[in-house]
């Protein structure tokens, strides 16, 4: 009896699979990101952004009558698994990939896309090494650590008036990349950090690192890390009596920061990838997005969702429309892309390395939300 049920289930599953492959006309859009593990709050946003864009495009009749089907794979926020995840997308014969979260993961999985000749638009990784002259198939829409870390270093000294800056950073590619550029930028301005301490992504207790920072008596603390470590550091720093103001880059640009460190995160100044107050279209999109994804098991995370949405809808889809799904033509089309995107002031375009050139946004945490930074 049990056996028969099992066979029944397999047959059903098999016919579903057949039905899916029967619509081979579909354009397959691959999404890879950490939908579990430390990157969850970012990966979920990426998935939601893709879902929203694809739903809208399909509702409007698809691309020249062809629907887009999403293939989402979870890399568990782990570089090794992200290679397997990307390989799955290649085996699934997706037409292009828009996604990727975490510099270490993207540095690992972009190799697979490069080898397979698969156009890959990265939305959630900032290490400068991702877009060099060597990557042929990989593009990136969010700006790199070099832009962000330099900007926040400048803002810390010139706009926030910090004189004794300490740095705590994740020992991964994101954290180290940011630290190097931040420290170099400070030196250019004529300042040396009073302390620089690393931590491991999975650390929960930061007393050891923060005790050292407290000894250095900083007035500003740069945190180059992600959720959940960054809010934990903020909470524990305040418990230890560190009064320094927090600054950081895109790793902190996640609404979960305020959930996990409601009091401690107040006043933090950071660079971000999206803010709804930049222009009315951004605000309209954010309202629509939050409405669509509120009340689910996972709360909306607009920051990276906005990039995923924009990359799919305004860059990938127009290119498929004009160049079809031939991978080489698609790659050339993305490389030539130039246009405007909501929440990005001015024109944006890809440079020779596949990096989207654009102006960045500074925000400050106030009243439990990201506010446009209005400091001096």
């Amino acid at each position: 009896m049990k056996m028969r049920k099992l066979i029944g289930a397999i047959t059903v599953a098999g016919s579903v699979a057949m039905a899916v492959s029967a619509q081979a006309q579909d354009i397959k859009l691959g999404v890879v990101a950490g939908m579990s593990g430390p990157g969850t709050s970012y990966g979920i946003g990426i998935r939601q952004g893709a879902e929203m864009a694809v739903r809208e495009i399909n509702a409007a009749g698809g691309i020249k009558g062809r629907k887009i089907s999403l293939v989402v794979v979870d890399d568990a926020s782990n570089p090794a698994q992200s290679v397997t995840a990307m390989q799955r997308l290649v085996n699934d014969q997706v037409d292009l990939v828009v996604g990727g979260w975490g510099s270490s993961q993207v540095l690992a999985n972009m190799e697979v896309a490069e080898r397979a000749g698969l156009p890959y638009i990265v939305v959630g990784a900032t290490n400068p090494k991702i877009t060099t002259e060597k990557n042929k198939w990989t593009f990136r829409v969010i700006f790199t650590d070099s832009v962000q870390a330099e900007q926040i270093a400048d803002a810390a000294v010139r706009r926030l008036g910090m004189k004794r800056i300490a740095v705590i950073h994740d020992a991964n590619d994101y954290g180290v990349g940011n630290r190097d550029i931040f420290v170099a930028s400070l030196k250019k301005i004529g300042l040396d950090p009073v302390a620089v301490v690393p931590y491991q992504s999975a650390d929960k207790d930061f007393t050891a690192q923060l005790s050292r920072i407290r000894e250095a008596n900083p007035d500003g603390l740069a945190i180059f890390g992600t959720i959940p470590a960054a809010p934990a550091i903020m909470n524990q720093a305040r418990d230890l009596g560190i009064k320094a103001r927090f600054i950081g880059t895109g790793g902190l640009a996640n609404e979960n920061l305020m959930t996990l460190a409601p009091k401690a995160s107040e006043g933090t100044v950071l660079t971000t990838y999206f803010h709804e107050d930049v222009d009315p279209q951004a605000r309209a999109w954010a309202d629509r997005y939050v409405k669509e994804f509120s009340g689910g098991s996972q709360p909306p995370r607009p920051v990276l969702a906005a990039w995923e949405y924009r990359a799919v809808k305004f860059i990938a889809v127009p290119c498929i429309e004009s160049s079809g799904t031939d991978k080489e033509k698609l790659r050339q089309c993305i490389g030539r892309w130039k246009g405007t995107l909501f929440s990005v002031p001015g024109d944006a375009y890809f440079d020779k390395t596949g990096q989207l050139v654009q102006q960045s946004v500074l925000v400050e945490v106030g009243k439990g939300a990201f506010q446009a930074f209005k400091g001096k």
Partner: protein
């Protein structure tokens, strides 16, 4: 700085010690290592979270309820899973690793992201010398003390406790004098689950709780148990405290990059130099 590192390390050390006790309890009885222990600690933290979010319990009753539920869960899982596995050490190890993965991913379905834990132990900051820390740290240290005293009293003065010790010493002989060995083993699992879950609730408010929080703590607790002697309760406590304090000091004075290394270097050195651990005794091999 020393005060801060020392007290912080002591608190984490207490958690390693209590979770490590779970390893020790099971090992003493069955000569087997339950690698699900770290994930039981994680599940306990989430159990506490789910209860604390629904009913506003003061700290002590919350610890008690979580301990009781985890105890029952341990007994049930022993009956359903472990009893079928402990006839063979290899089977048991793989089975317990599997159970850990099931626990972790079961929690992950409901809580994919790290979540804050209600501040059930207060959020005041206490200052001792130059060290500042949350009240919660005191709770961790005091609760560990109380747990150890309670366990000691149970093993020494109660009938059940003596039965457990008899089974630990020699299950066959204990059975011939009328001890219900199966029940004793089930109770052991109940106890090991209860202590790990209580540790989970104690640590919850200090950090966030996340489905993967048991990985590292499980490994460190295991190192603590091996360091102190996996069949010795005082040894495990000592092991936990030593590892907790040393790793924090190494993280503060040398480099935080080497923090995790400390526990495992200690484990390696101990396994080479004294495989029975600091206070452990060699188990005589029966012929």
């Amino acid at each position: 700085m020393f005060d801060q590192l020392f007290i912080g390390g002591l608190a984490t050390g207490c958690v390693y010690a209590v979770v490590g006790l779970g390893f020790t309890l099971v090992y003493r009885t069955l000569r087997m290592v339950n690698f699900a222990q770290g994930h039981v600690f994680m599940a306990g933290a989430f159990l506490g979270l789910v209860i604390a979010e629904r009913v506003h319990l003061p700290a002590l009753p919350l610890l008690f309820v979580v301990g009781a539920v985890a105890f029952a869960l341990g007994m049930v899982l022993e009956r359903l899973v472990f009893r079928r596995l402990y006839h063979n050490h290899e089977v048991f190890i793989v089975g317990s690793i599997g159970l850990g993965i099931v626990l972790m991913n079961g929690v992950r379905v409901f809580f994919p992201e790290p979540v804050p834990f209600p501040k059930v132990f207060g959020s005041e900051v206490v200052q001792i010398g130059a060290a500042r820390f949350q009240e919660g740290y005191l709770w961790v240290v005091l609760s560990t003390l109380v747990l150890v005293v309670l366990l000691h009293a149970m093993f020494t003065y109660t009938r059940t406790g003596r039965a457990l010790r008899a089974v630990a010493a020699d299950a066959e002989i204990a059975a011939t004098v009328g001890v219900d060995v199966k029940r004793a083993i089930a109770l052991t699992f109940g106890l090991s689950f209860a202590v790990a879950a209580i540790a989970g609730v104690l640590i919850g408010p200090l950090y966030f709780v996340s489905f993967d929080m048991g990985d590292m703590v499980g490994l460190k607790a295991f190192s603590a148990a091996v360091f102190g002697g996996i069949n010795s309760i005082p040894g495990t406590i000592l092991g936990g405290l030593v590892i907790g304090v040393l790793e924090n000091l190494a993280g503060g004075y040398i480099s935080s990059a080497y923090k995790d290394l400390v526990a495992f270097v200690i484990l390696l050195v101990m396994l080479i130099w004294r495989p029975t651990g600091l206070l452990g005794r060699e188990t005589p091999v029966k012929v």
